[in-house]
């Protein structure tokens, strides 16, 4: 990040589940700002006429969608700032124990549905979340169709070379081909998490590129060309990719990309 005198950068991983999924990305940013003020962590502020705390969120999550892994990078000032005792106690030495304590502490300052899973200091010079994350995985629950129909549509999408969807941009209707962005599309929930699907729905899982722009769950379903209703959309992963390897920006266990530990790294499918 530019133009700051911040001394340290923290990466936070959190979930957004339940009723709070109806808040917007801006709402969540405000909730974080207030929680961090209450935390007394020495968050660095931008300079200028209208200073803001230096927080940077990754990929925007559409209003209404849940997530198992959202990320936030925070720049911190020197320990001489007000509240340093708390900060020093909590992150003076960020071993796994204090990281867990800090996660619990931050969760207690956030409303129901936002819950911190891991915190870790990011090495100076790391790229921004916005810049680094290049794909993400969605788990979608749809209604109004049978599993067989969904399977057939998935097959059709994967076999075609072009999946046009329409979207409105600056008041004009555009047609976009989302096929190049689809990395994988499968029937069934994506991983073995203890998530019971909503009754009467069909689950599917999709990994899509987030560049040059993110494909929204609604667009994916439009590409399926079935008459279905999206009941629930949940982002399960965001990925930083290098070659054919990929990492989460911060694993639930608190590991950063490139750190040792094979479970933080997966072979891209």
């Amino acid at each position: 990040m530019t133009g700051s005198s911040a001394e340290m950068q923290l990466r936070i991983r959190y979930t957004k589940l339940g009723k709070i999924r109806f808040t917007s990305q801006r709402d969540v940013a405000r909730l974080w700002e207030r929680a961090l003020r209450r935390s007394r962590l020495p968050v660095a502020w931008s300079k200028g006429f209208s200073p803001r705390p230096l927080l940077s969120f990754g990929l925007a999550l559409p209003t209404g969608a849940e997530s198992l892994g959202e990320y936030l990078d925070i720049e911190l000032d020197s320990w001489d700032s007000p509240g340093r005792e708390v900060a020093h106690d909590a992150i003076g030495i960020l071993d796994p124990v204090t990281s867990a304590a800090l996660s619990t502490f931050l969760s207690s300052l956030l409303p129901d549905g936002l819950s911190v899973q891991a915190v870790a200091p990011v090495p100076a010079g790391s790229g921004s979340l916005q810049h680094e994350v290049s794909s993400c995985t969605w788990e979608l629950e749809v209604a109004g169709v049978t599993e067989v129909q969904v399977a057939r549509q998935i097959d059709a999408v994967l076999r075609s070379s072009n999946v046009p969807v329409r979207r409105v941009r600056k008041g004009r209707m555009l047609e976009d081909d989302i096929r190049p962005a689809i990395r994988s599309l499968t029937l069934g929930a994506d991983c073995g998490r203890d998530h019971r699907g909503t009754e009467g729905t069909v689950a599917l899982s999709a990994t899509v590129a987030t560049k040059p722009r993110g494909v929204r769950p609604g667009e994916l379903l439009e590409g399926l060309e079935a008459d279905l209703v999206l009941v629930r959309a949940r982002r399960t992963h965001q990925w930083i990719e290098h070659g054919d390897a990929r990492w989460e920006p911060l694993s639930e266990a608190g590991e950063l990309p490139g750190e040792t530990g094979l479970h933080a790294q997966e072979r891209a499918s």
């Binding site: 709070i20 917007s24 709402d27 909730l31 003020r37 209450r38 007000p82 999206l230 009941v231």
Partner: protein, 674 residues
């Protein structure tokens, strides 16, 4: 088997939704949220929100703000009652706001009634539905929400098992337009009376079913001071002319407002609600005093909330510090009708900014600035973190006009304030004005442009490009003010004045004029001074689809004009006609504590163009607010702000007649005989 006390009886089958089992409606609400705008307004979850358990013994209140969540959530009056009712052990309270049009449609299509945002219970499952009325144009929403809640619209149509419908807020000082729809109105401060009301309702709900008759409840409520039960009164008319309202049942001939004598006893809200999503005034709000005695003649809020009751300075500091720590807000607004007049305001704000526990990044906003350079310097100091806009309210374009309305701001004061603002780095200053004021001439309108032009010139001494925004509202005469007798300008006249203003301001670069739609001003006039017959008009407008009339994109003049015509009511009679001293007014049986003679004399003085000083620092005029109610001003300082009362520098040496109680600063107080 008779139902447990305090619970609602089974509802008639005709009702769209049967809440008998009191289950959360969330499963039917949730699917609707995917397709509506700003769904976060329907999920609640605020910090400070309660989730009361309905045990069937406590009186269950649904507090409703009849506008959107974003507008209603910050309402402090509603939040105060929410805490009081939830802290008592014989009551509980939840909240509801008006669903926006897309959500309302989705709810109606799917048979989802108005619901509370805490437990998602249907409105009809509550014993009391209480509306906060802050503006007249929301009245059609009140009817819409009752209908959406499955509650019969008219008080007379409600059965024993239906909720009791109440209303409070500033608009209840003329309750008549909603008289047929509301079972009981609360006039004045609600802190004390809400408990008395709850006790009456509780014992009624617990009474034998034979005594559980709405007529009995009405009469019991009408015995409480400050509670107005319209069904116990009748109005008379002579053709178009309103002739008076008198009791037809066991009720007092006049209902006098309730006043909390000491704000220091009510340090509420303790747990201001912090929403998950963006709302207006999204900051900590601490009410620093209630009441205002500046005596601006157009201002209903100032007239009906007398006398001035300051919160003790230490309590203000505590509420600010605790509130900031609890909420994480970085901005606090010190609210009142005129915060710059708070005794010791500079030291209070400096303490807030300097308090290390506040983290050093707190800005304080003073929603209403006094027009002087001194105030601006304070504003500059306290808004180091984030500068909000600066707004001054001269209200009138010429000194003559400002004497008529008793807004005694001299041009030098305004120019001094604006000079200080631009000198402190602001580049944009907003000025509030009213047009359509009594005795107004075209030169007063052009005076607005002249003031704006001079302010732009002052700004250009400091910055190359500056903006003065003149925000111009149409004047609506309000009940319980000296202007309650005056004729409101016609829509055409207001339009002519706005056109005059626009034409003249076009010549001035750097001056932007914004104005309020004269059509909406006219409708506000119909409702503000309306009598009971306006209820049918409101109902017609609502039935024709006219909700959210406060919102310019939803406002429909044609619906109001049609409804007035089909009810055979004349807008000229009601809105554009000056009243005589003997004429009955629809709110005569409601008292804000002000003597009618005082208001009439003040009206006559207005016509002569003579102003009056602020009775906080100068002799009492015996308006009635203190003298008749056995209460008095509570102010910490006997000294008026620099420049004297209202900037007129009056001689204050004869202050001994003011009923003032000093809460601190004893050495100053000792120089005055109280």
């Amino acid at each position: 088997m008779s139902p447990a006390p305090g619970t609602v009886d089974p509802l008639p089958e005709s009702r769209a939704y049967n809440p008998g089992n009191m289950e959360s409606l969330w499963p039917v609400i949730e699917p609707l949220l995917a397709n509506v705008s700003k769904p976060a307004r329907y999920i609640g979850g605020e910090m400070g929100a309660r989730r009361p358990e309905h045990d069937g013994f406590q009186v269950a209140w649904l507090l409703v703000y009849p506008d959107t969540y974003e507008i209603g959530l910050p309402n402090q009056g509603l939040q105060i009652l929410y805490e009081i009712l939830n802290d008592r052990n014989d009551s509980l309270a939840e909240r509801a706001y008006a669903p926006w049009i897309d959500m309302e449609q989705a709810m109606r299509e799917n048979g989802v009634p108005l619901f509370s945002i805490e437990n998602n219970f249907p409105a009809s499952a509550f014993n009391v539905i209480a509306f906060n009325l802050s503006a007249e144009l929301v009245y059609t929403n009140v009817l819409n929400l009752l209908d959406l809640g499955g509650v019969p619209l008219r008080s007379s149509d409600r059965a024993v098992s239906d909720p009791i419908v109440m209303a409070g807020g500033h608009c209840t000082y003329n309750p008549e337009p909603l008289a047929e729809f509301i079972d009981a109105f609360v006039i004045g401060d609600g802190e004390e009376v809400v408990g008395e009301i709850n006790a009456v309702i509780s014992s009624w709900l617990h009474s034998n079913s034979g005594d559980r008759d709405r007529r009995i409840l009405r009469e019991a409520l009408a015995q409480i001071d400050g509670v107005y039960v319209p069904a116990l009164y009748g109005s008379r008319y002579d053709g178009q002319r309103f002739m008076g309202t008198v009791p037809v049942g066991n009720a007092p001939p006049e209902v006098i407002k309730r006043t909390v004598a000491d704000l220091g006893q009510w340090p509420l809200p303790r747990q201001q609600l912090v929403p998950l999503t963006e709302v207006v005034h999204d900051r900590l709000n601490v009410e620093v005093f209630r009441g205002c005695t500046r005596g601006c003649r157009f201002c209903q809020a100032g007239m009906i909330t007398r006398p001035v009751r300051e919160r003790p300075a230490q309590q203000i500091r505590d509420m600010v510090r605790d509130g900031l720590q609890r909420t994480g807000y970085d901005e606090v607004a010190l609210t009142s009708l005129s915060t710059a007049d708070l005794s010791g305001i500079e030291s209070t704000v400096r303490d807030i900014i300097d308090d290390p526990t506040n983290g050093g990044r707190v800005s304080v906003s003073l929603p209403s600035l006094r027009v002087d350079a001194f105030t601006v310097a304070t504003a500059a100091e306290i808004q180091k973190v984030r500068r909000t806009g600066l707004t001054f309210a001269p209200e009138g374009g010429t000194w003559r006009m400002r004497r008529v309305i008793n807004k005694l701001i001299r041009e030098e004061d305004l120019y001094g304030a604006v000079d200080a603002a631009f000198g402190q780095g602001w580049r944009r200053v907003k000025l509030y004005f009213l047009v359509g004021l009594p005795t107004e001439r075209d030169e007063d309108i052009l005076g607005i442009v002249e003031l704006g032009r001079r302010c732009v010139e002052i700004g250009q001494r400091y910055h190359r490009s500056v903006t003065i925004v003149a925000s111009v509202g149409g004047f609506v005469p309000k009940p319980h003010t000296p202007f309650q007798w005056c004729a409101q300008d016609s829509m055409e006249e207001l339009q002519r004045k706005v056109a005059l203003l626009r034409a003249a301001s076009r010549e001035v670069r750097g001056l932007t004029v914004r104005w309020h739609d004269p059509a909406a001003t006219t409708v506000e006039g119909i409702v503000s001074r309306g009598d009971r017959r306006i209820g049918a008009v409101i109902e017609q407008v609502w039935r024709a689809g006219g909700t959210f009339q406060e919102w310019s994109e939803q406002f429909r003049l044609d619906l109001w004009l049609n409804a007035m015509e089909s009810e055979g009511l004349s807008i000229d009679e009601l809105v554009h006609r000056e009243r005589g001293p003997e004429e009955a007014l629809p709110w005569d049986h409601i008292s804000a504590g002000l003597h009618r003679d005082f208001l009439w004399d003040d009206w006559q003085q207005a016509l002569e163009g003579s102003g009056v000083a602020d009775c906080r620092w100068t002799p009492c005029y015996d308006c009635g607010a203190c003298t008749d109610q056995g209460i008095e001003h509570i102010v910490a300082s006997s000294l008026p702000p620099a420049g004297g009362s209202q900037g007129t520098g009056q001689d204050l040496s004869s202050a001994s007649k003011v009923p003032v109680r000093f809460t601190s600063a004893p050495d100053q107080a000792s120089t005055f005989a109280v």
